[in-house]
Subunit: 425 residues, 2 copies
Amino acid sequence: MESSKVHSKNNVEILCIGTELLLGNIINSNSQWLAEELAGLGLNHYKQTVVGDNLTRLKKSIIESADRCKILITTGGLGPTPDDITTEALAQVFNTPLKEDKKLLEEIQFKLNRKGHLTTSNNRKQAQIPIGAKVIPNPNGTAPGIIWSPIPGFTVLTFPGVPSEMKRMWKDTAAPWLRKNGGSKNIFHSKILRFAGVRESALAEQIKDLLYQKNPTIAPYAYLGEVKLRLTACAASIKEAHELLHPLERDLKTRTGLLCYGSNEDTLASVVINLLHQRNEFLAIAESCTGGGLSAAITAIPNASKVFKGGLITYSNEMKNTYLGVPNDLMQKHGSVSKEVVIAMAQGAKQKLQTDWSIAVSGIAGPGGGSTTKPVGLVHFAIAGPSGCSSFHENFSPYRSRVDIQKLSVMHALNLLRLQMICRS
Amino acid sequence: MESSKVHSKNNVEILCIGTELLLGNIINSNSQWLAEELAGLGLNHYKQTVVGDNLTRLKKSIIESADRCKILITTGGLGPTPDDITTEALAQVFNTPLKEDKKLLEEIQFKLNRKGHLTTSNNRKQAQIPIGAKVIPNPNGTAPGIIWSPIPGFTVLTFPGVPSEMKRMWKDTAAPWLRKNGGSKNIFHSKILRFAGVRESALAEQIKDLLYQKNPTIAPYAYLGEVKLRLTACAASIKEAHELLHPLERDLKTRTGLLCYGSNEDTLASVVINLLHQRNEFLAIAESCTGGGLSAAITAIPNASKVFKGGLITYSNEMKNTYLGVPNDLMQKHGSVSKEVVIAMAQGAKQKLQTDWSIAVSGIAGPGGGSTTKPVGLVHFAIAGPSGCSSFHENFSPYRSRVDIQKLSVMHALNLLRLQMICRS
C-alpha cells in the first residue's frame, strides 16, 4: 500500500463493522461513545464509516481510511464466528501473516474453561493476530483487540462490537495510548458537570454567553432525565488546564445552583448514596410503577448495602397494605396512584424498615391503565425523612414508552431525595 | 465527474452530515431507521458514512459515493444556517448551477409567517435547488429535500437531519419512488430467533453447516446473556419468504430445543410473563444481589401487574428474616450467599405473597465482598413452584463489572424460571 500523504495526516476515523448495522438491527451507539471520547482527547475526527461483514468491501474501506487518516478505530468483527473478519481483513490489506499468540490462546482457554466451556476452533481464531501487532486485552470477554502500525504514519486500534467490552478496553488501554501517541501537542482536559431537573434548552439559555467561548469550550449533551456539560480546556499541562477550568466551573455552579448534582462519573444514585454515607443514615424504598428500577439504580452502586436496607415492590394493593401498612380505605378512597397513598407508602417503609429516609413512587407507566383524571405518565412521589414527609407529582408525556416513563420516574425520585437531603435536614 | 462503473452499480449508501455526530453530541438514529427501511425495500445497502459540516470533505465523500453506489441517501445540512451546505456541495460536485424555486420559496415564506417568523436571507437559501432536481416536500418543516440524477446511473435523495421531518418525507415521497425506481425485484423478510443459556460460539458450532447458506441467510448476534439469530429470506412475495423461512426455523428449533426461548420482539421477561398469563399463575420475587433489577425486568413488560404480585429486595439479613422468614441461624451457619438461604428466601416469598411461583437470588456482585470460597461473581438462585423448590448457582467472571454481574444474574434467573415452568409442572 502506498500513500503520498503520510506526513500530513493528523486525524482519526471510526470504522464500525457489522451487517447488523447495515440492516438496522441495532443502533450505532459505539460511534457516538467513541466520538465523544475522541473529542475529550482533543483528537480531530472527520469521518465515520459503517460496512458489513464482507471481506472485499471491508478491505476497500480500510485501504481508503489508511490513505486519509493517522489513526483508525474499528469496532466489531472480532468474535469467533465465520462472519468475524476484521483481523483477517487488516492482515490481508497490509500483506502481513497472522500468528497464533500463545499467551492470548491460554487466556481465552482459561476464560472459557472457568465457565465450563470447551475451546472450539472458532475461539482459536481469536488468538491469531498480525505479526507486529500488540494486543489490547479484553477483561470482560474473549475477543481481544490490537494496536498495530502496519505502515508509517498509520495505526489501527480494533475493538469488539459489544459496548461494555469495547468501553473497558478503551479506558484501560486505548485512551492512555492515545494520550501519549495521538499527536496532540497540548493536552485536552475535560470535566463533566451533571444536571437534573432542567431541560437542555433552558440550561443553554442560562449560560448562552459562555457557549461560544474557545478555551475552555462547553458542549451540552442531553439524555433521558439529565443534561451534562462537558468543559474542555486545551493547555500545556494538567495544572494549567485545571486553572482554566476552575473559574468556569465556579461560574457555572453559581449560576445553576442545585440544578448541578455532580461531576464526571457521578450518577444521581451515587450522589444520594454518598450523602447517606456522610450522614451515616439509612434508606428504604417502596415502589410501584418503577417496579424495582429505583432500587436497582441504588444497588448498582458499590457499597450500597451499607446505607440501603431494602426495597418493597408493592405491585398489588394487598401488598401495600400487608407490608407497608397502607390502610385499605385510603386506597379505596383515593386510588393507589395518589398523593395520600404515596405518603402512606413512604411513611410505612421508613417505619417498618427503621430507616432515616424513604422514597415511595406510585404512578401510571402505561401503555394501559390511564384515565382522564389520571393519565398515563402521572407519577406521585413521596420522600419521608427525619423532619417529616413531602409529596410531589409529575406528568411525564403519555407519548413516551412505558420503559422511558419508568426511567424518568427513577431519575426524578433520586433527584427529589437529593434535594430533600440537602435542604430539609 | 466520470465513472467507469456506472452500469454495474446496484446499491444504496447512506451519508449523514453534521459536526454534532462527529463530536458525539447526538446518536445517529437516522442511519438505523433508514437502514431498516432499505432492508424492507429489498435494496442492497453496503455502506454508511458520517462527515461534518465541511465543504471540502463533504464534496470528497459525495464523489466517492457517486463512484460506488446507484442511490445515495443523505441526511442533514439542509437548514438555513451557514453550516448547512449539503445542496451547495452537491451542486459544486456535479458542476450544476443552483436556481431559486419560486413555489418552494412561497411555501417556506408561508410556513415561517404562520409561526410569526420573518423570512431571512438564510431561509431564502433553502429554496435554491440544482437545475434538474425535483423537490421532496417537507410537510413538517422548512427544509425541503431533493431527488436528483446528476449523472447516468446515480441518484441522490436529500433529507434534513431532524428525524420526524426525515421520516415523513421518506414515507410520503422517497419510499414510493424507491419502490418504483430502486431496482429491487424481490422483497427481504427477516425473522429473529432468540437464545439463552448458550454462548454465541457454541451455538454457531451447533449450526455451522447452515451459516453459509445463501437464501435464507443466518446471522448470529451476541449480547450480554443472550444470543440471537436473524434469518433473512429474499423472495418475490411475503408468502414465498415465509415458505423459505419456515423449514429453516423448524430445523433450528429442533437442533437447539429449549435453548431457543422466543422470536422477534420477545424478551426473557415477556416470555415468562406470557407463560404465567397462560396458566393464570402468580409470581413473587425475592432478590438480594440483583437489587431490584429482576423485578424491574419483569415490570418493564406491560400487564406485568396481572401476574406479578410484588418483590422484596432484602438487602439486609434482618429484612430476610422479618419479611421472608429466613431463620437467623440458617444465615449464621451458611452465610446469606448460600444454597440453603436462597431456598429459604424463595419458599418464604412464595408463601408470604401467596403465589404459585417465586424466584430468589443471592450473590456477590462485587467489586468488594468476595472471598476464596465465595468469590465475586458467585450467585445462588432458587425457583419455588407448585411441585417444589430447586436451587442453582453460577460463577460469573469476577472480572466483570458489578452492573454486568447483576444483569447476567437477572437473565439467568428469568431463564431458570422459564425452564422450570416448562419442565417441572
